[in-house]
Symmetry: C2
Subunit: 411 residues, 2 copies
């Protein structure tokens, strides 16, 4: 089933620059889809470091287990991604498939197996025949290019309706550093460590542990701050590769280096951009919604309440119906189980305060609230009036489109 492009899709795609030390190629391996690319091979120059955050699912895919193990080494020479089959819950066959894929890739690229990183996305439970990669990866290794980035972004899509790319550059020590990333994700989005799949590439010279810390930090306010349907994938993977190819600049080897924050902020911009694109491609989405909770007893408490609102089917369907149904926000705050005092609550849609002090705002205008709800980008703000805790979660509405996409046979 082909679904129309999300109405929230970006109107144009950024032009990602080549990143020194990164080359890639894509192919149609026919893993599940016909007539589209479904395998990405990215190859990195020697000395490229890697960091990553992976799903905390108790039932992770075989590729997740492989990456978790190999991340300890901190070095990467190749990345192999396939779409169409998640190679999750495939038992010993899954582990063998992952090992064989790494072996094939290492041979094609000319590196060690533990420098190969792997990610798979698609149907869960279907064994993935790694022999399909045999000729494919050899061919790809002989056809590597440094652009255009649209190709790898497309090769990793599953139910995505548009490819997701983001880029940022930052001047450090007078040198322009490039950071570019791609992501895929549309449903099964409530990342607990990362989104479905995202890969970020930079030419910054940086030590792996520093990159790891920065990645984990900025992941919290980007991929870990989005939810489409409260369902967490078995395959969530965010990997960052730093080739160190930028010339005339010393490596960041410590978090105490003030350049770590500068670089981290730019990295954070790319992650945030990609994460918002995942929400904008939320299955069936017609509205982009930010839910901000302030005045909670702690940031963690604010996060729990913001998620309760963002994940509530009744809130999400009301938004789809353009209904300023703030009673459902009250319900969601109430069910979150976190400290809340009904009589101190303040709820706003955009600038329109709909409720405060435990009741409907005296100057509430249904007309104004309804007009606001017709917009494509909505802001829901809840102030609890109890403390300084804040959190923002990004989500989308719940529509017939979500049911169409997920209620059809084995989407």
């Amino acid at each position: 089933m082909v679904h129309p492009v999300s109405p929230l899709a970006p109107k144009s795609y950024p032009d990602l620059p080549e990143i020194g030390g990164v080359r890639f190629a894509t192919a149609e391996a026919g893993i599940r889809y016909k007539g589209r690319t479904d395998v990405l091979l990215a190859v990195f120059d020697p000395e490229t470091v890697v960091a990553g955050v992976l799903t905390r699912s108790k039932c992770p895919s075989a590729a997740i287990e492989w990456c978790r193990d190999k991340l300890a080494g901190g070095k990467a020479r190749a990345l192999v991604v396939n779409s169409g089959n998640a190679n999750a819950f495939t038992g010993i066959k899954g582990r063998e498939s992952v090992a064989l894929t790494a072996q094939i890739a290492a041979k094609a690229v000319g590196c060690r197996e533990d420098e190969v990183f792997l990610a798979s996305t698609g149907v869960i439970g279907e064994p993935l025949d790694a022999r399909k990669f045999e000729g494919v990866l050899d061919r790809l290794a002989g056809a590597l290019v440094a652009s255009p980035w649209m190709e790898p972004a497309k090769a990793i899509m599953t139910t995505d309706t548009f490819p997701k790319l983001a880029t940022a550059s930052v001047e450090i020590d007078g040198v322009e550093i490039q950071i570019s990333g791609i992501a895929k994700g549309s449903g099964m989005i409530a990342p607990d460590m990362a989104t479905m799949l995202s890969f970020v590439f930079t030419d910054m010279p940086i030590a792996a542990p520093v990159l790891q810390t920065l990645l984990a930090k900025h992941n919290q306010t980007s991929f870990n701050a989005i939810t489409v349907d409260s369902d967490t994938s078995t395959s969530d993977t965010l990997l960052a590769f730093a080739t160190g190819k930028a010339q005339g600049i010393d490596a960041i080897v410590s978090l105490d280096d003030p350049r770590a924050e500068t670089f981290g902020a730019a990295l954070g911009d790319v992650l945030f951009d990609l994460a918002m694109q995942v929400v904008r491609d939320g299955e069936g989405a017609t509205k982009f919604v930010s839910v901000t909770v302030t005045g909670a007893t702690s940031d963690k408490s604010a996060d729990t309440i913001a998620r309760a609102i963002a994940d509530s089917p009744l809130v999400k369907t009301a938004i789809a119906g353009e209904d300023a149904n703030w009673g459902r926000i009250v319900m969601a705050v109430g069910k979150a189980g976190e400290p809340a005092d009904r009589d101190k609550l303040r709820i706003a849609f955009g600038d329109i305060v709909v409720a405060r002090a435990g009741e409907r705002s005296p100057d509430y205008s249904e007309e104004a609230a309804s007009a606001y709800m017709k917009g494509e980008e909505l802001e829901i703000s809840v102030d609890l009036g109890l403390g300084d805790g804040t959190a923002t979660i990004y989500t989308c509405d719940l529509t017939h489109g979500y049911i169409d996409i997920n209620g059809s046979y084995r989407s």
Copy 2:
């Protein structure tokens, strides 16, 4: 908007007997609906005891706060229920409205105000004008009857597509004891202490604390074991009234009395029956699903995992699509955060084992699984292979009907 009767509705309704000491009447007060009853007054003979479990929402309705306060007294003479307006999040106006309603009811019935119990269901945030009850309750107090129970069951409905009634009788000391109940609920169903609204009546002589303990116990495996959409209401109320009118039988005044278990089991049957009817009227439901988790490290852990499966939008849409998509069950187990070992998991649909030992069952038949999913009543079983913890949660699928009902303006 009028929605068609749920395809999962019971084919017939039970004929509830009169309960000695209980009389009631209903009226059209025009609170929100036109052309249907929306107020129920039930009146109890003196010495009737009451027990109840109420929502744990942090934003409860004014009626919930009233009931919580008055339950301490353990005595009830009247119950007033209105549909169409939940009188929740209505601030000081809500509290005044509740107090005035109790005052009007007490005068009409001739009892103390703290013997009046109240419940409201419907839109949140709209002030409820209690003066509407003034003439209405007087008239109702003069028109009390002991049957038919269909009338009160209908008066408390909101988005319900069918009235919910259940009854049981049990012989204790050679006396036939009657227990009957009604309930309403269809959406915003993930009770944390009770369902939306349910009222149970019995002629058993029983002390209020004993009734309270039995009610809370059996609520756990009935109303607290269901979920339609993971959203918990601000108004969840389950009240049980025992008139003690059964003749020739001593009251149960202690949980050590062996008759408490006998009576409790029958009470539990009525609660379970009503709770299953709420699931069967789940908004948009086309399938009734039980999710049983065994082999967990504790009952609580099993409950968390069963809820993660039952609340997963991806699992629920797959069921709607009659897709034996057990990969989504794996996902839900994985996201629950409870101890689980992928390689020990066993998943079955009905008697069909689809996965075991961390991969698809070797004798898995897509054809057989698909045929099973076409049924209207489905059983999903997950064994974790870790311990003795078990739990069963009852739910329904997630369909276009749910979006229709909740995505329309202020349903």
